[in-house]
């Protein structure tokens, strides 16, 4: 940390200058301060992404060839599938989201990151927690609660590491030198305050001191839906709201709509989880309230979708030139698709067909991959050159990464959504034997594996590009493109 970093006591009560904007930090200063923690968070995230994809491929393969590797207990579907989920959610998505969120928070607040090394240290502990948890799942110690499979010791480590990161991010916010809050600010602040609440509440009620009966299912889906909607979605949207205007150089089409989108999400989203339990033995009013809230989610989704589209109108040709914009716009469009699909899936009449089929799997991948992961890739393409002061080594690898992941995920979710729905119709027909329904899905599950392999190629391309940046760093220093201002070029008179 730099000498300018305030002490812990000072951090709790920042002295506010008369004119905050006078003390704004330069973007390059902020980027430099984020360097170590972000490189660690992104690097470790990438490791878990690759491992999680391998788990996913194996799980997918076992769906159409169950006799592959049957002799290894730790590679059975029941362990490899939760290992995949935990690797991509807690190993890849959360640290990457935290990295992007910290960087955005510092940039929006115009202050360099405070206590960057502490955040990197918290990242190390987070990874230890994830490694222990996934090891335990593969060893057969899963709690069998979806999205919370890690045994009790892992969530404690994860929560403590998160708390360290979250506290310092809120302190950065306390030190902000920007008078007004941009819409991304709202999303980030909300995410950083919501996540510890839902994560600790769910762990206490399900793992530490389990509640009984169907209430477990209610808590489970309250958590699983909210971790998507109140943790990943706000960070994803914060990134989209920042990067689309930033990259194309044009302010957001309507700031009014963006604010409406945030507040309607804040008010409606957390009621949604029970729609996963349509038909379950829960009080009917609980599920009905949830379905109503899910349908009300149309308001934030449509406002956000319209706003992003109208910002991009007239600038779509810029997709050719900017890797960040490609991934972010793909993610933004997928957000609209994923959310409207989610609204539709919440209905009782739809759940009767779609529930317990591959449709749900496809839907969750539209949300977590096509929207969230693609948005994070886009953000990393913007952030990494700025924090490392190095250009991406290969434009071709970036193109390869985009086209493989974009086409791969479309090939995954498109057919599987339709096939899942047909599978549901067949399952509801008592005249069709169960095994016939299973056989009907097999060719499409093969297609899913193919799509997964294509996506894996994209991830490898990304990994090569990222590692290449650091290998090249060992060689002679190459002056970055003029677009990226070096931290040393700060004018003598202080920040403007």
């Amino acid at each position: 940390m730099s000498a300018a970093s305030p002490s812990f006591a000072a951090a709790l009560s920042p002295t506010e200058p008369e004119d905050l904007t006078q003390r704004r930090a330069l973007f390059a200063e902020i980027d430099a301060s984020c360097r170590a923690p972000l490189i660690f968070l992104f690097g470790s995230g990438l490791f878990w992404l690759i491992l999680g994809t391998v788990f996913a491929l194996l799980a997918s393969w076992k769906m159409h060839n169950p006799d592959v590797l049957p002799d290894y207990a730790w590679l059975t579907f029941g362990r490899i599938r939760p290992a995949h989920l935990n690797a991509v959610i807690y190993g890849f998505s959360s640290p990457t989201a935290i990295g992007v969120a910290i960087w955005l928070m510092c940039r929006l607040c115009r202050v360099p990151l405070i206590q960057g090394r502490l955040i990197a240290l918290a990242g190390v502990f987070w990874n230890i927690g994830v490694a222990l948890g996934i090891g335990a799942i593969l060893a057969g110690h899963s709690t069998s609660i979806e999205w919370l499979e890690m045994p009790a010791y892992s969530p404690i480590i994860l929560f403590a590491s998160y708390a360290l990161i979250g506290v310092w991010t809120i302190i950065v916010f306390r030190f902000r030198r920007e008078r007004h809050l941009y819409v991304s600010h709202w999303y980030l602040l909300a995410a950083f305050l919501w996540f510890p609440w839902i994560y600790s509440a769910a762990n206490m009620m399900l793992i530490m001191a389990p509640v009984r009966g169907t209430i477990q299912a209610a808590v489970n889906w309250w958590f699983a839906h909210n971790v998507l909607g109140l943790w990943f979605t706000p960070i994803g949207l914060a990134a989209i709201y920042y990067f689309i205007p930033k990259v194309i150089g044009r302010p957001i089409h309507s700031y009014y709509l963006s604010i409406l989108g945030f507040w309607s999400l804040a008010l409606f989203y957390n009621w949604n989880g029970m729609h996963h339990l349509v038909g379950g033995p829960l009080p009917a009013w609980l599920i009905t309230v949830s379905i109503v809230a899910s349908v009300m989610m149309t308001i934030p989704v449509v406002t956000v979708g319209i706003n992003h589209h109208l910002t991009m109108v007239g600038h779509f040709h810029k997709l050719r030139y900017s890797p960040t914009l490609r991934f972010i716009v793909f993610g933004g469009m997928s957000y609209t698709v994923a959310s409207l699909q989610g609204v539709m899936s919440a209905w009782r009449s739809f759940s009767e067909i779609g529930h317990f089929t591959h449709h749900t799997v496809a839907h969750s991948h539209v949300g977590m991959y096509a929207f969230f992961t693609m948005t994070m890739f886009g953000s990393m393409y913007y952030i990494v050159p700025r924090i490392t002061q190095r250009e991406w080594p290969s434009a071709k690898l970036i193109s390869l990464h985009f086209w493989t992941t974009a086409l791969g995920i479309l090939l995954y979710v498109g057919p599987l959504s339709v096939v899942g729905f047909m599978q549901g119709l067949k399952l509801n027909n008592p005249d069709i034997p169960f095994l016939d329904v299973v056989r009907f899905t097999v060719p499409w599950l093969r297609l899913r594996t193919v799509a997964g392999i294509i996506i894996f190629v994209g991830h490898l391309a990304f990994m090569v590009n990222l590692i290449w940046i650091f290998i090249r760093q060992l060689g002679p220093y190459k002056q970055p493109e003029p677009m990226i201002i070096a931290a040393t070029e700060r004018p003598a008179g202080g920040p403007a």
């Binding site: 194309i248 044009r250 810029k318």
Partner: protein
């Protein structure tokens, strides 16, 4: 059943109530005034409006020629 009520209270009441309190703070703090200015707050002299701030590596010159926004 008591726990269900606690959960419902948490989920359906405390979350929206905190959101409403935050909304009140935002309104009183003037976050909903002069919105165009807030929309522009992410730009400054370093990264001004009207300039693309991202491109494929090694293609910045081609970009400047081709893109006129």
């Amino acid at each position: 059943m008591n726990l269900l009520w606690i959960l419902s209270a948490c989920s359906f009441i405390i979350f929206p109530v905190t959101a409403l309190l935050a909304l009140r703070w935002a309104y009183r703090h003037g976050e909903f005034r002069d919105m165009q200015k807030i929309a522009l707050s992410i730009f400054d002299e370093e990264e001004p409006v009207g300039e693309m701030s991202d491109h494929f590596p090694g293609r910045s010159r081609a970009l400047k020629k081709e893109v006129k926004s």
